[in-house]
Every structure is written in structure tokens, then in C-alpha cells.
């Protein structure tokens, strides 16, 4: 699963910085984030609340709520810059070229319209199709995402679907115009485990069949372990480690990733105590100097509080940690 052809990246994010101006000064929520996603690749982005993972996703689909703004950096989709497009142009990119799946399927759907109407509208916005053609495509999409009795269900309202089925409808909406990239922000978090498994399976199958790349933002390492090819771990607005999924999970390089992996209980092993990282993620107003993790890091040395480490090669991954720099 880890072998993805290294073609030209579909999505390239370069030095992304997201800021929120406030009365007490500017808060930098995403800091110098650089990564790329190849066509057909699933990149997992993990981190705890406030790490900036969802904002990174929102920046890519151009949905950062004002007063937040992209202050620096570039986002390129298939070579074309999309971070500075006018609102209307971005609207066509979003949907046509980038699909979005959010955590709560109920808020992503309009409760007043049938799912069919929402699908047909989305399809016709992005593809030159007649009403009838669009409806046939909508039924196909619903069938594809595994909704039984799609021809009948298309005229139902969102509240007539269960949580898992609603998330399938949202995925169908995201796929409506056959986008090259899907940004999925916690797509399974609101679902029960058995439904979560179905949705993960579905997303994996669709990506394989359509060659769609996915940026999967979640706090659930288990979901990442099963779905992603590569993982980026975020902490306090920065990527602290990025690498192939098996390496990040089984051979983590950054002390934060080590602590994070150790703190996750697993049903495959018995442990007396979980590894704990003392303290909590710093607030945006008080990001420590140097490496933002140094006050919680068991291996911190003087340099860590003075100088910020950039991503450097560490094992098969890259980690932003002075411990990994060549001596």
C-alpha cells in the first residue's frame, strides 16, 4: 500500500501560513506547512485539537472563515495556483476539482431539499448535463456509495437517512463532478464503529477505482493506519513529522509522534499504563520559542528552546527535531 508512483504532485502546498488577526495581535494558526499529494494517494493529517489540521484542509478548499486568511505560501492543484483565486472561480474549483467531506453529515446537507435535488444541482453546476441525465447520474452515484434502493431513496430528505447513510450521500455529493482530490475532515468521527468501518472501506474503494487523491484529516490514528499511504503529524500549527504510514506508526521519529502513538490504547496488546505526554498543546497565544514541543519533550536540550528545527530526514520519514539532525 505504501508504493505510490512518484508522479508530478496533484496538490502541492508550499510554506502555507494561516493567520487570525485579533485585538491582541495576530495569531498564526498554521505555520510554514509544506507537503504534496500525488494522484491517487491518500495523505493522512493527524494531530490533536488545535494543531491546525482542519485549517490546513479549509485553506486548500478555500473555506477559511474571515477574519482568518492565508498570509503566505502557495497552494497548487495540478500546477495551477488556487490560493489566490477570486471567490467565484474558487467556487467552480471546489466541487469540480476538489470535493469536500465534513465531519457532521447533517450540517453538510440542506434539510429542506431532497438528496436528489441537492445531487442534481451539484452535478449540473459542474457538468453540462440535462435535468434527466443529471438525475440518472445521481442515482448511479447513490448506488455507487452503497445506498440500497437508490432509485427510490433519491427522493427522500436527509432526515430520512441514518447517520451512516447520510455520510454516504455526502460522499456521493463530493464525488458528483468526479474531482481529482477530496478533502475529508474527520469523515468518520461522528459515526459508530461498525458504520465507520463501512465508510472507510467505501472511501478506499472509490479512491482506488477513480484514482482520486484524498487528504484525510482526522484525530483517529486507527483510521489513518488503515486508509492512508502517508501521514503528516501536526503540532501547534506545524508539521512535525511526515512519512509513509507504516514508518510513522511503527517507527515514529519525532518525540511527539512517539508519545502520541504510545498514548493510544490498542486492542492488540495489554499495557499496564499508557505513555503519557504531560501538559497539553500550547495555546496559539503562547507558542513556546524554538521547537514548540520542547516544554513537554522528555529529550529536550538547550538548542530546542532556542532554535526551531525544520523537517529533516529521519529514517524513512522526515521529522522536525534536532535529535534527528546529523551530528
Amino acid at each position: 500500500m505504501t508504493d505510490v508512483p512518484a508522479a508530478q504532485p496533484l496538490l502541492a502546498v508550499e510554506g502555507l501560513r494561516v493567520e487570525f488577526p485579533t485585538r491582541r495581535g495576530t495569531l498564526v494558526a498554521v505555520h510554514d506547512v509544506t507537503f504534496a499529494i500525488a494522484p491517487g494517494e491518500v495523505l493522512g493529517v493527524v494531530g490533536e485539537s488545535g494543531a491546525g489540521k482542519s485549517l490546513t484542509g479549509a485553506a486548500i478548499i478555500g473555506l477559511i472563515d474571515p477574519p482568518g486568511r492565508i498570509a503566505a505560501g502557495e497552494i497548487r492543484l495540478a500546477g495551477r495556483r488556487i490560493d489566490n483565486l477570486p471567490y467565484e472561480t474558487m467556487r467552480t474549483v471546489r466541487g469540480r476539482e476538489i470535493g469536500a467531506v465534513f465531519q457532521d453529515p447533517l450540517t453538510s446537507l440542506n434539510p429542506l431539499y431532497t438528496v436528489g435535488r441537492q445531487l442534481v444541482e451539484t452535478i449540473r453546476t459542474h457538468l453540462p448535463m440535462s435535468e434527466g441525465e443529471a438525475r440518472r447520474r445521481a442515482i448511479e452515484l447513490l448506488e455507487e456509495v452503497g445506498i440500497p434502493g437508490a432509485a427510490r431513496r433519491i427522493d427522500h430528505f436527509p432526515h430520512q437517512f441514518s447517520g451512516g447513510m447520510r455520510q454516504r450521500v455526502v460522499i456521493a455529493l463530493a464525488l458528483a463532478a468526479n474531482p481529482k482530490l477530496i478533502v475529508a475532515d474527520e469523515p468518520t468521527t461522528a459515526l459508530d464503529v461498525s458504520i465507520q468501518a463501512q465508510i472507510i472501506q467505501l472511501m478506499k474503494r472509490l479512491c482506488r477505482e477513480h484514482g482520486t487523491a484524498v487528504m484525510l484529516v482526522t484525530h483517529d490514528m486507527g483510521v489513518i493506519a488503515e486508509t492512508a499511504h502517508r501521514v503528516a503529524v501536526m503540532y501547534a500549527g506545524r508539521i512535525v513529522e511526515i512519512g509513509p504510514v507504516a514508518d510513522v506508526i511503527h517507527r515514529p521519529q519525532h518525540p511527539y509522534t512517539v508519545g502520541l502513538m504510545g498514548s493510544i490504547p490498542s486492542i492488540a496488546e495489554e499495557r499496564e499504563r499508557l505513555t503519557q505526554i504531560d501538559g497539553s498543546m500550547p495555546r496559539l497565544t503562547e507558542i513556546p520559542s524554538g521547537c514548540a514541543f520542547h516544554p513537554r519533550c522528555p529529550h529536550a536540550v538547550a538548542r530546542c528552546s532556542e532554535e526551531r528545527p525544520g523537517l529533516m530526514p529521519a529514517g524513512a520519514s522526515q521529522a522536525a527535531c534536532w535529535l534527528r539532525s546529523a551530528p
Binding site: D192, V193, S194, Q198, A225, M261, I264, I267, Q276, S280
Partner: protein, 346 residues
């Protein structure tokens, strides 16, 4: 080990009927939601019993019936051999109060369960004030400071307000409040579900340390199987208001009996399963207002036969050395195929 809490055939129904006028005008009948429908469960002193299940299976209702937030519709709740709720409940208010004092509850959302206008010291002291109103002030203050230190906060934090704390710290405050009356039994309803994993690890470690130090008994409710696997000694799996399997944690995870337990375990995404394909789980939990007849799991069960569609299976001891129980006709008749890969061996 002695029994501390015992549920005997406990059921809790909710009347979710439309208003009377609608029923009359639209000719609709009453609608009864059987949130918990006949649960037998024994919790022994000093152990942690985990209760898992998907949303709507009734696990939180069980918790609320035990601590007395809901009265059981049927059945009896016993605490330390005193029937505290339901049929045959003790009528002596002093005995009831004494029993109630022994149990406390920790809730899921540390943002909603602490009064934002109270200082932490007042929050932690409230149970002491209500249960032993004549405790001298100095003694309460000393106890509060002691409790805050016990849960890993500083005594000086008592002067702050809840909004000054992070989610994990708030959950520590909830734990301090629950411990303030020296309970023997804590009901924890998804105590770590709202927390980030690294903070969850801190809270789980703290709960385990407190259990060792104070000899606490826990009923730990969670939808997260890995968390329950970590913390519980025995695990009960609930489905649509009933316990379908109850077994020591190791046995349940290594050799699950009930088809629903097997399905749940197969569905859990785990770090060890990098890139592996997994068995997809068919179907969804049926509408609890209209549960299927017989075994409620039969529409999703690969082993269901005529008897399963007709007859509700009872929780029975299953073979082997363990004291596990399962409510399944197929298990009882030995119709199940052996499970190919036990999770623990992967």
C-alpha cells in the same frame, strides 16, 4: 470478591408518544422506547466493568438507572445488598441515602458538567456540603486542596473558574468532585470521549492510579473498544437495550462468542492493521422504536435461523474455562464457525 452492585432484570422504557391530541386526531398509538430491556449485571468490589456498544444501545441509560437519575421501569438495583431502586426497594430513607452516598458519576462532557459561574473549590466542595452539611469550613477547604492534588492539579487551582482549564484538566476536576464524598463506586459515562488521545492517556492513567490507591470500583462506559480493553477487567457488550455478551476482558477480545461482538471487533480500526483489508460489516442498528422480534441482532447476523427470529436468547454461560456469558442461540447450539484470526494474535 463480594458483589457491590447488582442489577436484576433492569428495564427502563421511555414514552416517546406524540401528544395526546395528535394521537386522537391521527389515530396513532403510544410509542414506547425500550432503552434498556432486561439487564442482569453484577459488579464486584474493586473491579472495573466496561460497558460497550454503539449509540442508542442503552449503555448510558444503564448508568443513569444505577446512580438513580432514572427510576427503572422493571427490575431491581442493589447496592451493597440494599435494594436502592425498582421492585422491592428499601423504604428506609437513611439506608437509601447511605447507599447513594457510596456512588458518584463522571460525565462525558467536561464543558457541560461544571458550573461556569462557580470556582473550582466550590464545585469540588458541593457534594461534601450537601451530604455532610455540618462539616467545618476549614475541614472542607483542606479536603478540597487534598483532592485537587490527588487528581494532579494544584491546591491553588481551587480559586480559578472552569473556563481557565483545558478539557483534560476539567475532567480531573470532575473526578475530584466525584471523589469528594469518598465513594466506593464510580459510574464513568464516556469520561474520555471528548478528550484528545494524549490527554485521554493522562486521564486513564489517573483513573487507574486512583483505583489502586483508594480501592475504587468502576463501571466504565465507552463506545471505544480499545479504551475499554485497556481499563476494564470484565466487559459487557450491549445491543439494543440488552447485554449480549459479558466476559473477562482478555477472553472477550481474544475469543469473542457473540456474532455482534465479533463484528464489532472486526470493525475497530487498529494501529496494527496498517493498510490491511478488513471484513466489512453489513447493515446498521435497527430503529430501537421497532426492534426486530426474537434476537434483535438477527437481521445482521450470518448465523440467524428460524429460532433466532422467534425467540429472544437469554444470557447464558458459554463453554470453556472462562466465566463468560453470551445471549445467542447459535453459540448455545454450537453453530458458529471458529473465528479465523483472533485480534490478540495479530
Amino acid at each position: 470478591m463480594t458483589e457491590l452492585v447488582k442489577l436484576e432484570g433492569v428495564a427502563r422504557y421511555f414514552d416517546v408518544s406524540p401528544p395526546w391530541l395528535n394521537r386522537v386526531l391521527e389515530g396513532r398509538g403510544r410509542v414506547i422506547l425500550r432503552a434498556v430491556d432486561g439487564v442482569d449485571l453484577t459488579i464486584r468490589k474493586g473491579e472495573t466493568v466496561g460497558l460497550v456498544g454503539e449509540s442508542g444501545c442503552g449503555k448510558s441509560t444503564v448508568a443513569r438507572v444505577i446512580v438513580g437519575l432514572y427510576a427503572p421501569t422493571r427490575g431491581t438495583v442493589r447496592y451493597d445488598e440494599v435494594a436502592i431502586a425498582g421492585e422491592g426497594a428499601a423504604s428506609d430513607p437513611r439506608a437509601l441515602r447511605r447507599a447513594r452516598r457510596g456512588m458518584q458519576m463522571i460525565f462525558q462532557d467536561p464543558y457541560a458538567s461544571l458550573n461556569p459561574r462557580w470556582r473550582v473549590a466550590e464545585i469540588v466542595a458541593e457534594p461534601i456540603r450537601s451530604q455532610a452539611p455540618d462539616t467545618p469550613r476549614g475541614e472542607i477547604a483542606a479536603r478540597v486542596a487534598d483532592l485537587l492534588c490527588q487528581v494532579g492539579l494544584a491546591a491553588a487551582d481551587g480559586a480559578k473558574y472552569p473556563h481557565q482549564f483545558s478539557g483534560g484538566q476539567r475532567q480531573r476536576i470532575s473526578i475530584a468532585r466525584a471523589l469528594s464524598t469518598n465513594p466506593a463506586f464510580l459510574v464513568c459515562d464516556e469520561p474520555t470521549s471528548a478528550l484528545d488521545v494524549s490527554v485521554q492517556a493522562q486521564v486513564l492513567n489517573l483513573m487507574r492510579d486512583l483505583q489502586r490507591g483508594l480501592g475504587l470500583t468502576y463501571l466504565f462506559i465507552s463506545h471505544n473498544l480499545a479504551v475499554v480493553h485497556h481499563i476494564a477487567d470484565r466487559v459487557g457488550v450491549m445491543y439494543l437495550g440488552r447485554i449480549v455478551e459479558l466476559a473477562p476482558t482478555r477472553d472477550l477480545f481474544a475469543d469473542p462468542q457473540h456474532p455482534y461482538t465479533r463484528m464489532l471487533l472486526d470493525a475497530v480500526p487498529d494501529l496494527t492493521m496498517t493498510g490491511e483489508a478488513r471484513t466489512a460489516v453489513a447493515g446498521e442498528v435497527p430503529n430501537p422504536l421497532d426492534p426486530p422480534p426474537g434476537c434483535a441482532f438477527h437481521p445482521r447476523c450470518p448465523y440467524a435461523d428460524e429460532r433466532c427470529r422467534r425467540e429472544v436468547p437469554a444470557l447464558r454461560a458459554v463453554g470453556g474455562s472462562s466465566d463468560g456469558q453470551a445471549a445467542c442461540h447459535a453459540v448455545e447450539e454450537d453453530r458458529l464457525s471458529p473465528r479465523v484470526v483472533p485480534i490478540a494474535a495479530r
